[in-house]
């Protein structure tokens, strides 16, 4: 196993939604800990080798997994298909880099969880990147931020509410 990628610290934590279930994956170059909500932690040493475009061969304790990206958040493992979404806390993807869009824009949660705080009210002007709402899943808090500047048209969630992946939380116009 080579070292981890450039600028990637050992054991970065990722929020995952897998088949509608929240999970956390901490992964370094040859070790991962996977903890799905309400389930036992799966912690393993692994070896990963690219196996063609969008495909990997993963070995764990000599057990072989053929993995393929099927596009649009689908991963096939030994023929079984999982719906997977990854939220890198430091990456742009969680925020979806949607700043340039115009027109009303919905802010959705990509992870199931509980709304901890609502930080804006309808009618309020917000700046791009301003915090709107905080959702907690598996004791990790995820801040939903404004994809662009605008006016809050509506707030669809309240503190304490349980939300599912894909729920609309705030509409900005």
């Amino acid at each position: 196993m080579a070292a981890d990628g450039p600028g990637v610290a050992a054991a970065v934590k990722y929020h995952i939604v897998i088949d509608g279930k929240a999970a956390i994956l901490s992964a370094s170059g040859d070790h991962f800990a996977y903890h799905a909500e309400g389930e036992e932690c799966v912690e393993r040493d692994y070896s990963a080798s690219p196996a063609g475009d969008g495909a990997w061969s993963i070995l764990i304790d000599g057990r072989s997994y053929a993995a393929k990206l099927l596009g649009e958040g689908e991963v096939s493992i030994n023929g079984r298909v999982f719906q997977v979404e990854v939220f890198d806390p430091r990456g742009p993807r969680g925020r979806r880099a949607a700043g340039e869009r115009s027109g009303p824009q919905v802010v959705t949660t990509s992870m199931p969880g509980r709304v901890v705080r609502v930080l804006v009210t309808p009618g309020q002007q917000v700046a791009a990147g301003q915090r709107l709402i905080v959702v907690e899943a598996m004791k990790m808090q995820n801040e939903m931020k404004a994809p662009r500047a605008g006016r809050v048209a509506s707030v669809k969630a309240e503190a304490g509410a349980t939300v599912s992946a894909g729920d609309i939380l705030v509409v900005i116009e």
Partner: protein, 496 residues
């Protein structure tokens, strides 16, 4: 033998026929609508002719355009495949009039079997069992009670002008008959502007079992045994197999059904390949349903167990050759199963799922046969039947065939669109499927008892890991910008 044959079809069956033609040393002409310009069949054929716009009514159903294409390309015969014009007597006649051979039965047999009542009469005249019932409309409650009593409850009320289950009612006891006639009749009136209904005995937990026949133009005809096609959704078959598991219970059934099928086909002066469909009840009694005067979608399972190539025989018979296989030469070896891979989502009421195939990995290995009409990058059109491919396997026993099908399904990757591939894996694991306890209600009952897939925590963790690896790869690729390919590869290798 023919020099050049036009294939008047599309999709996997066009590919199947083009392959047979190439093996026979006959040139092939594919036809295509706009949406099929780059289809696998067009690419594999020697020649290709454009028919028209994507709608089937502007292309694959246009007799004039197909005949014209065949003449322009100098084809001396036309293979209709299944569906589209394959059971259209006018098309068969138009081919002959244009001086080309229609690779199929005589137009008269196509016409005769195309009428449900005509086919039923012919079957009765041939001494084959049909579902007991009346052909005349019910005209009084008193008569209806008499008929139903004689048939024995439960009975089925059906609309004379019917189809698609409209105007159909199951009646379990005499007390329910009056209301059922009223309901069925008014439903039929609304649907078909004809309120006539008639009575038939209800076949309980029927199996759908059909017999393949093959006959030449010189009066020699044989049957190639059965295919069980009980696993259906919305009257569409999804899994077929040979032998039928019922044959272990009733070993003489194949012979009896085969004899009945031959009597019906002979009565229609049939030649070429054809299929007689029966309903079979739980006591092994069988009833004629209808005859399909063409090649069946599920013909590969018969080919796998008998070792006979049905399409090659269709070509030879149409060219006037003698069928040299005698009934006593036909041997059924082992067990074959076919799964129809559809572009539709079994988790959402089997809704069609057209779109681009972004990734395709096809199963292979011992005993696996794949008749497919797709490739990676192919756009599955919205205009046609969602059948993508047929995965068929052969094994020395049914148990071995089921295991092999499971294995082949696990190797099969189709991405970009929803398919029923994974769903077949669940059926292969189903206790009742494995026991061969089949009926046309199988799928409905399967959905009622279907369990979520058992958790596989380690595989799930690997899925999460791979999604993360893929994301890192993307972000590295972005950050390298204009970096040369080898440099990028080098950087990506750091992420291994």
């Amino acid at each position: 033998m023919f020099k050049k044959v036009l294939v008047a079809n599309r999709g996997e069956i066009a590919v199947r026929i083009v392959r047979a033609l190439r093996e026979a040393g006959i040139a092939s002409v594919a036809v295509y609508a706009d949406a099929d310009r780059a289809s696998l069949a067009v690419q594999m054929a020697d020649e290709a002719a454009h028919l028209g716009a994507s709608a089937a009514s502007e292309s694959y159903l246009r007799i004039d355009k197909i005949i014209d294409a065949a003449q322009r390309h100098g084809a001396d015969a036309v293979h209709p495949g299944y569906g589209f014009l394959s059971e259209n007597a006018e098309f068969a006649e138009a081919c002959e009039v244009a001086g080309m051979v229609f690779i199929g039965p005589p137009a008269s047999a196509v016409r005769q079997m195309g009428s449900k009542t005509g086919a039923r009469k012919l079957a009765i005249a041939a001494g084959a069992p049909v579902v007991p019932g009346t052909e005349a409309a019910v005209d009084s409650l008193k008569d209806a009670k008499k008929i139903a009593g004689a048939l024995g409850y439960p009975v089925l009320l059906k609309a004379s002008a019917g189809g698609g289950g409209k105007g159909m009612r199951r009646v379990d006891r005499e007390g329910d008959l009056e209301a059922a006639i009223r309901d069925a009749s008014s439903e039929a009136e609304r649907a078909f502007h004809n309120g006539e209904v008639y009575l038939e005995k209800l076949v309980l937990e029927p199996r759908h079992i059909e017999i393949q026949v093959l006959g030449d133009r010189h009066g020699h005809m044989i049957h190639l045994g059965e295919r069980e096609c009980s696993i259906q959704r919305r009257h569409q078959k999804v899994i077929e197999e040979c032998p039928s598991p019922l044959m272990t219970e009733y070993p003489e059934l194949r012979e009896r059904m085969g004899e009945a099928a031959l009597r019906i086909a002979r009565a229609a002066n049939y030649h070429n390949a054809g299929t007689i469909e029966f309903l079979v009840d739980r006591d092994g009694k069988f009833y004629f349903l209808e005859m399909n005067t063409r090649l069946q979608v599920e013909h590969p399972v018969t080919e796998l167990v008998t070792g006979l190539d049905l399409v090659q025989w269709q070509l030879r018979i149409a060219a006037g050759e003698r069928l040299t296989v005698r009934q006593e030469d036909v041997r059924w070896s082992g067990s074959a199963i076919e799964c129809r891979i559809y572009a539709e989502d079994p988790d959402h009421q089997f809704l069609p799922s057209p779109g681009r195939i972004t990734r395709l990995q096809e199963p292979a290995g011992p005993g696996v046969r794949l008749d497919s009409g797709i490739y990676e990058g192919w756009d599955v059109p919205v205009e046609y039947d969602p059948l993508l491919a047929k995965l068929a396997v052969w094994g020395p026993s049914r148990e071995a065939a089921v295991a092999r099908m499971k294995r082949a399904l696990s190797e099969y990757v189709i991405a970009g669109i929803a398919t029923n591939r994974a769903f077949f894996g669940e059926i292969m694991d189903d206790v009742r499927f494995r026991a061969g306890a089949l009926s046309t209600a199988f799928l409905e009952e399967f959905f009622a008892r279907r369990q979520p897939l058992p958790p596989e925590p380690e595989a799930e963790a690997v899925a999460a890991l791979v999604a993360v690896l893929a994301q890192r790869k993307v972000s590295v690729a972005r950050s390298t910008g204009q970096a040369s390919a080898w440099l990028q590869t080098g950087r990506e290798s750091l992420l291994r």
